[in-house]
Amino acid sequence: MSMTVTTTLKLDAATRLHMLHQMIEVRSVEARIQELFLENVIRGTTHLCDGQEAVSVGMAAVIDAKRGDTVTCTYRGHGHALALGLPLKSMMAEMMGKAAGCCKGKGGSMHLTDMSKGLIGTFAIVGAGLPITNGAALTAQIKKTGAISISIFGDGTANIGAWHEAINLAAVWKLPSVFLCENNLYGEYSAYGDTAPVPNVADRAAAYNIPGVIVDGQDAEAVYAVVKEAADRARSGAGPTLIEAKTYRFRGHSRTDPAAYRPAGELAAWQARDPITVLSARMIADGQLTESELTKMKNDADQLVEETTRWALEQPYPSVDSVNDDIWV
């Protein structure tokens, strides 16, 4: 069985402020992106993460790209990418398919990548990232770099074969992999309980003889604590950990989803545990932040996002001649 961790860890004021700042920025970005989609400035589809920002910042605080730590995540990756340090400009330009985007406009919302920040891939095929995280962990194990690799995925992903094979291989090879599940209660429009026979994703850790940990996904400090512990364990050679962060997406699955399937009151109940509020309230209580500072942070973020959006709008599209670049090395 899995164990639930309720950490009482308190990070220093600077770290808290950094996390809070990142969460506020992500929140602001997601809101703007939704607008840009509705205005058809951004095309295709998008999967916003607002409500889940604590997982992004708690996870990112553990990653040290210099050492070789790496992350694979999913199409719901804007928050993870920004928290890992993907420049906002690179991201906004990529969202619009501009040449200045991190993927030169070829990837878009579902494939944000920044090798320099350890984000080695954002996968739009459910489950595809986990086996690849193992490969990065294998490099670390063989080269003895002390690096780890974290794969982030959702609750619905625990039902696909790639998930099983990857966690099994990591357990058998004792790879320095960390499997971080964002259980936001839904896989697309299906409630977790309708597609899985066990109450928690972490309950499945026992099938691989690895630790299964459940954490409050609205609490950035708690997420940091469990991911840090799993990372330390992985670096020590003890193998992978399966972490389940209980969280919630404040919007539908993707741009086109009104999320009508949600029971009345569910959203409100989770908004009451908004990760930004959870951390900022704690900081205010600890005398590390004032309401007015918080308001200013939000306004500054909105302004930065607005400026960056305007900048990105003015960026050129990639030249058509570049369409077949980067297929081959």
Partner: protein
């Protein structure tokens, strides 16, 4: 004659067949309660119940396998894989199991399974959600493959697919769901293996499928103003493939151009073209030209995506080249 959308044709076909035959069942990810990710299957869950219309976990291997086993034991399952690109996670169940079980068992087994999936680009879904995947399935003897280009064919071919005793891959083009078209009143069935001559012509034969049919027509109209007469053929099903109609046309026009929204290697155009150059080369008065995505992936950025997917301009150029003395 009613006018309905490509999307509505899918749900009408499913509705009619679910009503006609209690052995027909339908399942896939979010196809039930939510009515499908492409909003293609609304109301079926409410009408036919949780037993016959089911939502599944995200488990494509288990989904296809369940479809096969149910088909082998007497049902006529229709399953949805959502994006055709996802067939890659379960290709074994499709090409090694569904396609071969009958053969390997010496004819003891029958697999009346219909696998629906949405393919194609043009909407900014990037490389993992925009591919045309028919080639994966054409290579597996035992699988039939349908590629409807309009609402009437969606309706008539999907109903035929469900009644077929062989496994059928039914590929819908996700960028055509909103397209409208006329469908006959009453029961409408379209047989597999019968191509449709979309436009008659005498100078050049253009074979195209799905969204490329409209692209070919647009080119044909433009060329008509230049006094060039194009015959546009829509095979409608790639397995079986109606080569008789295509060969007859090429023998008349002496020129063949195929238009595919897919990479060049392995595309159905290669099958059409090589059958023609084997059986009718003496009728050819020009190079056989395949208009394809070449060797490109589908990029996210709009101008790049528009550059890789064939358009009428490229078809017109191909026709001009074929007509160069």
């Amino acid at each position: 004659m009613a006018t309905i959308t490509y999307r509505e044709a899918v749900v009408r076909a499913l509705d009619e067949e679910l009503a006609r035959d209690e052995n027909v069942i339908f399942f896939g990810e979010d196809v039930g309660k939510a009515g499908g990710v492409f909003k293609v299957t609304p109301g079926l869950y409410e009408k036919y119940g949780a037993d016959r219309v089911r939502d599944t976990p995200i488990s494509e291997v288990a989904i296809v396998g369940a479809g096969i086993g149910a088909a082998v034991t007497g049902l006529r399952p229709v399953i949805e894989l959502m994006f055709a690109d996802f067939a890659a996670v379960t290709l074994d169940q499709i090409v090694n199991q569904a396609a071969k079980l009958r053969y390997m068992s010496g004819g003891q087994i029958k697999v009346p399974l219909t696998i629906r999936a949405a393919q194609g680009g043009g909407a900014g879904f990037a490389s993992q959600h925009s591919q045309c995947c028919e080639a994966w399935f054409m290579q597996a003897p035992g699988l039939k493959v349908a590629v409807p280009s309009n609402p009437a064919d969606v309706l008539g071919l999907l109903k035929s697919a469900i009644r077929d005793d062989n496994p059928v891959i039914f590929l819908e083009h996700k960028n055509q769901y909103a397209e409208k078209g006329e469908v006959p009143d009453g029961e409408h069935l379209v047989p597999f293996g019968v191509a449709k001559i979309v436009r008659e012509g005498s100078d050049v034969t253009i074979v195209a499928t799905q969204r490329m049919v409209a692209v070919a027509n647009k080119a044909a109209q433009e060329l008509a103003t230049q006094g060039i007469s194009c015959e546009v053929i829509d095979p409608r099903t790639l397995v079986p493939l109606d080569m008789d109609t295509i060969l007859a046309s090429v023998k008349k026009t002496g020129r063949l151009i195929t238009v595919e929204e897919a990479v060049h290697a392995g595309g159905w155009g290669g099958e059409v073209a090589t059958q023609v150059t084997d059986a009718a080369i003496w009728y050819l008065e020009a190079p056989v030209i395949r208009v394809t995505m070449g060797s490109s992936n589908v990029p996210f950025s709009q101008p790049l995506e528009e550059a890789v997917i064939p358009d009428s301009k490229r078809v017109v150029e191909a026709v001009h080249r074929a007509l160069k003395p």
